[in-house]
Amino acid sequence: MAQKMKIKTSTVAPRLGFGLNAWLIAGFLFFVVPMFSAFLFSIQLGDGTYTLGAYQRMLSDPGFGEAIWISARLAIFTVLVSIGLMLPTVTWLHIRAQRLKRVVEFITLLPLIIPPVVIALGFLGSMPLWLKDSVYMLVFAYTVLTLPYVFRSLDNGLNAIDVKTLVDAARGLGASWRQVLVSIIGPNVKSSIYGAIFLAVALVLGEFVISNLLLWSTLPVWMALVGMSDPEGAVALSVMSLVFVWLLLMLLSSFDRKRKVRIDIGGVS
């Protein structure tokens, strides 16, 4: 009888036939071929020999250092502002203001409705001149872009622990709010924070439209500029930025072996 049942299920359960295998291979090729081509393209010389010249050229270009310096500062400050704003907010929603969660969640989702190019337009129209003159205005624009992912990531993380009890216990023992966030909540939602950091950094390093329209030469803006005269150089930069994002992901995952670093839906372009 048991054997009969087994046969029955195995005949109805879907199997990976030739057609589905073909989809897997096609999908694999579609994602790997452009990356691999890009790498070869960046090291190939016209006569069939190979060189790392494009990489050397890019790394020694003064524009590279400037672009990296701007993008790195933006990434660090965006992560700080984003986590610094959202960790207390989401914690508060969990312990004291459950019914306002819907409202806050809705607001954090607005950046998915307002296209980045429109955010750039709005920032140009509404920000005071002194802020527009500073590259740090981009930190606020980028923080806005990270809100949907950071909110969701932290909310998932806090859902998994009994925040209220932890906070009440810590407060009852005399901890300050700062201590509660840094020493109690923070470590407990470590994987959410790493996930949020990864998304924020990937977003800042990939963001083009806002910095381009606001005339700041971040890494992607500089990359696009280089591409107009030196395609090999721009491709080399693209390869480097992809490798960096993968390394960052691996690094953050290795910090956090027990739980997987979460990556939620993104979409930077």
Binding site: L20, L40, L85, Q98, R99, G125, V245
Partner: protein, 310 residues
């Protein structure tokens, strides 16, 4: 959890305020204010950096250069090149969403059915990274592969295939549809995979035991269950392609009119003087279109996930 909190609050209120109704009301208000107070930094941030920019775009869309109310910006956005860019952006969004949904669904299904845990893990992580690939590097990857001097283009030429002999060009509409798949397929995998996982093997067995053929299983069980999430993903993918800027900017250099690129041009300021507010009108137009798409996505996603949790 909410109910428990609520009843705890009620207990606290009745204890402190007795059953005096007025007292009760002012306590509830005080309670709401207390809850709100911890969120003040967030609300201030949102008002300054989401509210103000959005409001400016919407207000300016209905203003003349002198500040008087007008509908002419919005009307102007439906003429000439502005109208053309709306149409081609809509076309690009629809084509990209259709292809993305189809290929993403096929790949997800193949990965799901393979049953290989390792593969599923790799695909899930890779999708997260690819969906977040910056638009500029993405454009250069494809230039290196299938641009005029791309390695794939040259390799195919050697065996007698010229991808540029037909109407295809990387630097036009067809190229954008192809390149956008690079973030659309991963996005589709991320949103549709949980729906595929939600299809229980038991249903298939139950259907088979009741005598259903493979066709009728899909006709009456599989497809009806997948329709809401697939349709929802379509709208999500539409919004992402419709609003995308970077890749299109690098690849087309403005040769095909697209709504985001038009808005960008107007922001940079090379415009006829009396048309400077058309940029705001088109920005407003984009918000409306993306908002509609995202609302439908959210609605269908809620519907699709409702039964999954139970």
């Amino acid at each position: 959890m909410t109910e428990i909190n609520q009843s705890l609050n009620d207990v606290a209120i009745t204890q402190s305020g007795g059953d005096n109704r007025y007292r009760d009301k002012s306590n509830k208000l005080r309670q709401l204010f207390f809850e709100f107070s911890g969120l003040i930094p967030f609300f201030v941030f949102a008002a300054l950096f989401i509210g103000a920019p959005t409001l400016i775009v919407i207000l300016n869309a209905f203003k003349t250069n002198e500040g008087a109310f007008t509908l002419s910006n919005v009307l102007l956005a439906f003429t000439d090149v502005y109208y053309l860019s709306l149409i081609s952006s809509l076309k690009l969004g629809l084509t990209s969403a259709l292809t993305g949904v189809f290929f993403g669904l096929m790949v997800s299904y193949a990965v799901f059915v393979s049953g290989m845990k390792k593969l599923q893990k790799v695909v899930s992580t890779a999708s997260g990274v690819f969906a977040n690939t910056g638009g500029v590097p993405l454009a250069f990857f494809f230039i290196a592969a299938i641009g005029n001097y791309g390695l794939v283009t040259l390799a195919l030429q050697k065996i007698g295939i010229d991808i540029y002999s037909g109407s295809f060009t990387l630097f036009g509409f067809s190229g954008l549809v192809l390149v956008y798949l690079y973030f659309q397929i991963p996005l589709m995998i991320i949103v549709i995979y949980p729906a595929l996982e939600g299809i229980k093997n038991e249903w298939r067995e139950a259907a088979a035991n009741l005598g259903a053929s493979k066709f009728s299983y899909w006709r009456y069980v599989g497809i009806p269950i997948l329709i809401p999430p697939v349709l929802g993903s379509f709208f999500l993918l539409f919004a992402s392609a419709f609003a995308a800027y970077a890749t299109a900017n690098v690849l087309t250099q403005g040769t095909i009119p697209l709504l985001p690129l038009q808005v960008g041009t107007l922001v940079s300021g090379d415009v006829v003087a009396d048309q400077s507010n058309v940029g705001y009108a088109m920005g407003f137009e984009m918000i409306v279109i993306v908002a509609i798409a995202m609302t439908i996505y959210t609605y269908l996603d809620r519907r699709a996930t409702k039964w999954r949790k139970k």
